[in-house]
């Protein structure tokens, strides 16, 4: 078997894939094969936590693709992530069936509670796994396509685009908070029972979800890496560095942008869909502009325009978040805020950039 050249030349990427393979096999092994009282045993909680980080990492990769390579700072990527999550949450809601508190075979609990008689049209077909799995990519993709189509065609760029992406996710948050939207309002979707008949509380299901997250991250990384190594990838970088010049050279900048933006949103949607069964809840708070900006800072910490950096940043920042919010909850926002300032001032190319510079000065 021969690796394509774009992959072979990407040494950090190969390291990432190797690490993903190791944890993809190692973590389930440490959970299933090592007896629970052994110090190396990983609890199901830890596995789920790691799975969550991998989902965040996939979101970060999708942001890095548009920000690092195309220069679009999206402050609304968490919206695509959350939409993907909602789509998959809808599937899991439909799976609850008569096991809900009100025992209605069709309507989810919150609809019974609101005295709804029929399932809204957009909830139909979500009882089928394949349909939900498709929608996980189609819904965020469609939104990104429509949004991008309008925004890029009228050449909204730079901070203006950042601000309207933020407004987009803010508007979605307000909308999903409304009970009338039919997505459970404030509480969102929760109380999930199973996926394809497997209980989401079972350790085995959690392991499978973790492995799937690792695979999705690896797949997402490979797709992005491949994309940026193609001719189109060069155009992306050209757009980032000088949009006008690229346009004058005859490239259809808005088409490229829309395409890549849509692809990135679909990746974010997949990440959200894998995230929701692992945390067991999805609610409108996930749309909060803060979440999107936080995801951007993961990318900045790891190093934008490297893809690997996005993964590193997402895992590092979230690990510190889990640790700090438990140990010193007061300090977390100070730390995060300080991180924003420090990274932009001192580490414009992130941790990966720091490593590369080291290597270059060494050689």
């Amino acid at each position: 078997m021969r690796f394509p050249r774009w992959l072979l030349s990407d040494r950090t990427g190969l390291v990432l894939l190797a690490v993903l393979m190791i944890i993809g096999i190692g973590v389930p092994a440490l959970n299933l094969l090592v007896p629970p009282d052994h110090p190396l045993h990983l609890t199901a909680y830890t596995v789920t936590l790691l799975g969550k980080y991998l989902c965040y990492a996939l979101l970060a990769v999708s942001i890095d693709l548009v920000w690092g390579y195309m220069g679009i700072l999206s402050l609304g990527h968490a919206a695509f992530f959350t939409l993907g999550g909602y789509c998959f949450g809808m599937y899991m809601m439909r799976q609850i069936g008569t096991r809900g508190v009100y025992g209605d075979p069709v309507l989810p609990d919150f609809m019974v509670f609101l005295n709804w008689k029929d399932l809204p049209w957009y909830w139909h077909s979500f009882d089928m796994f394949w349909f939900a799995a498709l929608m996980v990519m189609v819904v965020p993709g469609l939104l990104a396509f429509i949004f991008g189509w309008f925004a890029f065609r009228s050449r909204v760029s730079g901070v203006y685009l950042s601000i309207i992406t933020q407004a987009l996710t803010y508007a979605l948050m307000l909308a999903f908070f409304r009970n009338e939207m039919g997505f459970g309002g404030n509480n969102g979707l929760t109380d999930f029972k199973d996926i394809l008949g497997y209980s989401i509380h079972a350790d085995e299901t959690r392991i499978v979800l973790f492995v799937l997250s690792a695979l999705a991250l690896a797949g997402g990384y490979l797709a992005c890496r491949w994309l940026v190594s193609t001719r189109m990838g060069r155009v992306l970088v050209a757009i980032r560095d000088s949009e006008d010049r690229t346009r004058f050279l005859g490239y259809r900048v808005e088409q490229v942008k829309t395409l890549v933006f849509t692809f990135s949103a679909m990746l974010a949607g997949v990440a959200g869909a894998l995230y929701v069964p692992q945390v067991g809840i999805i609610n409108p708070g996930e749309f909060a502009p803060l979440n999107s900006i936080e995801a951007v800072i993961w990318v900045a910490v790891g190093g934008r325009g490297t893809l690997v950096g996005a993964v590193v940043g997402a895992v590092l920042v979230n690990y510190s978040k889990s640790w700090l919010t438990a140990a010193l909850p007061e300090v977390w926002l100070f730390a995060l805020g300080g991180l924003f300032v420090a990274v932009t001032l001192l580490l414009p190319y992130g941790l990966i950039g720091l490593l590369r510079r080291r290597r270059e000065t060494a050689s």
């Binding site: 909204v156 800072i297 926002l333 100070f334």
Partner: protein, 538 residues
């Protein structure tokens, strides 16, 4: 309805005071014994009998009439068996202090058990209210005459209309004359003559008082005569029209007040973003600091004086914080707007957490000074004073900022740097200093906006976050680098929000406006009033 009763009681106290203080009731008439005799009969009469007795009393024009009727109204009129006389209880204790009903002579305290309470029902009370109203009409004080007419309108019994007609003939005050006419028309609605009823209904058209509208609605539905029903209906439709106009005016005012808040929040951003091209995500948190400064001043100063002190203080505090941010962070990031955005977002998180750690995560309530609470009437429109003050405040801040940018040396330098940094530097403008001061100015205005916000919402660590998206939208909608654009954008977004609200609810209105803005920016990426020329190329 307790509030209704309270109002009535309040009016009666009014009428009573007036009778006693001004002595307007002629002090002649039937002698005390006759009145006492009537009063004694009250004890055994049924409610119909009591009503007749009250009429007799009202006809007597006795100087003590008002206090007696008032006491009966309040169930404070007692019959004292041992002396066979009627007394008024002045308190409601077991040992009750009494005075003679007819002479008003103090009689000391007696056991409550030795007295028989003379009861009243609501029908009797409304009769009393009506009769007392007629008494008040003769007052020399126009306020009290007005109160008397209003009391009559709440309870327009045609049998009590005669004193109103007499008063109308001699009344000189235009406002009271008008109310008298309305009151008489209301009484005429109960007339036996259908033509009189129809005329009365027509005369009442366009009047917005709830009593009048209620009566007209009933007449329009139940009157036996078709013409009267028609007249009442057309009168009601005129009322509806006026109400609608008033509703629109109210919406407009709410929109303006929301718009002024938006302008206040956005105008500082317009300076930093528009003039300097710097995205300051910590702008909302600077407003929050301004609001906390207000809260702090209120801890030291009396509430009524705190706001005039808080405004300059908040400006100073936030301007200094702003200058610190500019010198410490932003100046290293000029030309990299996206990085500036992230760095200032970090600052906003730090400020939020700092406030949370120092002042607690709970909301602080900032008290409203007396001169900002309550409502006033602008024509027929009732507006809350604090919103009106904020509209005025917004205008003042806007005017000051405009003057500062147009008429001062610093303003000139700011505009020069905004238009062409290199050329301004070549002309000797110290651009670094100008940047710091501009950022300080924008931040200071955010602080001042925070003072205004503290009067409208709770002051808490999340105060800024809820305004940041909105204020960016205002700046972008209006066109970057254009203060007038910001003003127009703020006002129109405020009004649009409030216009949509009745149809869609507050949240959906906000969403609709956001979606509209997202679409608008696609159409006109540079806002309503784009900057023209080379300066527009970022």
């Amino acid at each position: 309805m307790p509030s209704r009763t309270l109002i009535r009681a309040g009016f009666l106290t009014f009428a009573l005071t007036l009778q006693v203080l001004l002595g307007v009731v002629p002090a002649h008439a039937a002698d005390d014994a006759a009145v006492q005799a009537t009063l004694v009969q009250l004890r055994d009469a049924d409610f119909d009998g009591k009503a007749e007795l009250v009429e007799t009393l009202a006809a007597s024009n006795h100087p003590r009439l008002a206090p007696i009727l008032k006491a009966l109204y309040d169930s404070r009129l007692y019959y004292q068996e041992e002396n066979n006389r009627t007394v008024i209880g002045l308190n409601d204790a077991a040992e009750i202090t009494i005075e003679d009903a007819v002479t008003g002579a103090a009689l000391g305290a007696v056991s409550k058990r030795s007295l028989d309470r003379i009861t009243a029902n609501n029908r009797l009370r409304s009769l009393i209210e009506n009769r007392l109203a007629s008494l008040g009409l003769a007052s020399a004080d126009s306020q009290q005459r007005k109160a008397a007419v209003e009391a009559f309108m709440r309870n327009p019994d045609p049998s009590g209309a005669a004193p109103l007609r007499e008063r109308l003939a001699v009344e000189t005050d235009g406002g009271i004359k008008e109310s008298l006419t309305l009151a008489l028309a209301l009484a005429d609605l109960a007339s036996d003559d259908a033509t009189v009823r129809a005329t009365a209904a027509t005369a009442l058209g366009g009047q917005m008082q709830t009593e009048i509208r209620g009566r007209l609605t009933r007449v329009a539905a139940d009157d036996s005569d078709a013409n009267v029903r028609e007249a009442a209906k057309s009168a009601l439709s005129r009322t509806e029209f006026r109400l609608q106009l008033l509703g629109w005016a109210e919406t407009l005012f709410f929109g303006l007040s929301l718009g002024s808040v938006l302008i206040l929040a956005a105008i500082g951003l317009a300076v930093t973003f528009g003039v300097m091209g710097v995205i300051n995500m910590a702008h909302g948190e600077l407003m929050m600091l301004g609001a906390y400064t207000t809260w702090l001043t209120q801890q030291w100063l009396p509430v009524n004086w705190s706001l005039p002190v808080a405004v300059p203080l908040a400006f100073l505090v936030t301007a200094l914080v702003g200058i610190a941010i500019e010198r410490g962070i932003i100046r290293f990031l000029y030309g990299r707007p996206l990085e500036t955005l992230l760095a200032t977002f970090g600052v906003s998180l730090i400020l939020q957490q700092a406030v949370r750690s120092i002042f607690s995560p709970l909301n602080r309530s900032v008290a409203a000074p007396d001169w900002m609470s309550g409502t006033i009437l602008l024509g027929p429109l009732e507006v809350t004073l604090n919103r009106l003050v904020i509209v005025g405040f917004c205008i003042a801040v806007f005017a000051l900022l405009w003057l500062a940018l147009q008429r001062t040396r610093l303003g000139l330098e700011v505009r020069a740097v905004a238009q062409n940094r290199a050329m301004a530097r070549a002309m000797g403008v110290r651009s670094a200093r100008v940047d710091a001061l501009t950022f300080g100015l924008g931040s200071g205005i955010a602080g001042v906006a925070g003072v205004a916000l503290s009067q409208l919402t709770n002051v808490g660590p999340n105060l800024g976050q809820s305004y940041i998206v909105d204020s960016f939208m205002v700046v972008v909608f209006g066109g970057v680098g254009n203060l007038w654009g910001t003003m127009v954008a703020g006002l129109s977004l405020g009004v649009a929000n409030k216009l949509l609200e009745p149809w869609t609810g507050a949240v959906l209105a906000k969403i609709v406006v956001l979606v509209f803005l997202i679409l608008f920016i696609q159409k006109r990426p540079r806002g309503l009033f784009p900057q023209r020329g080379r300066a527009a190329e970022v």
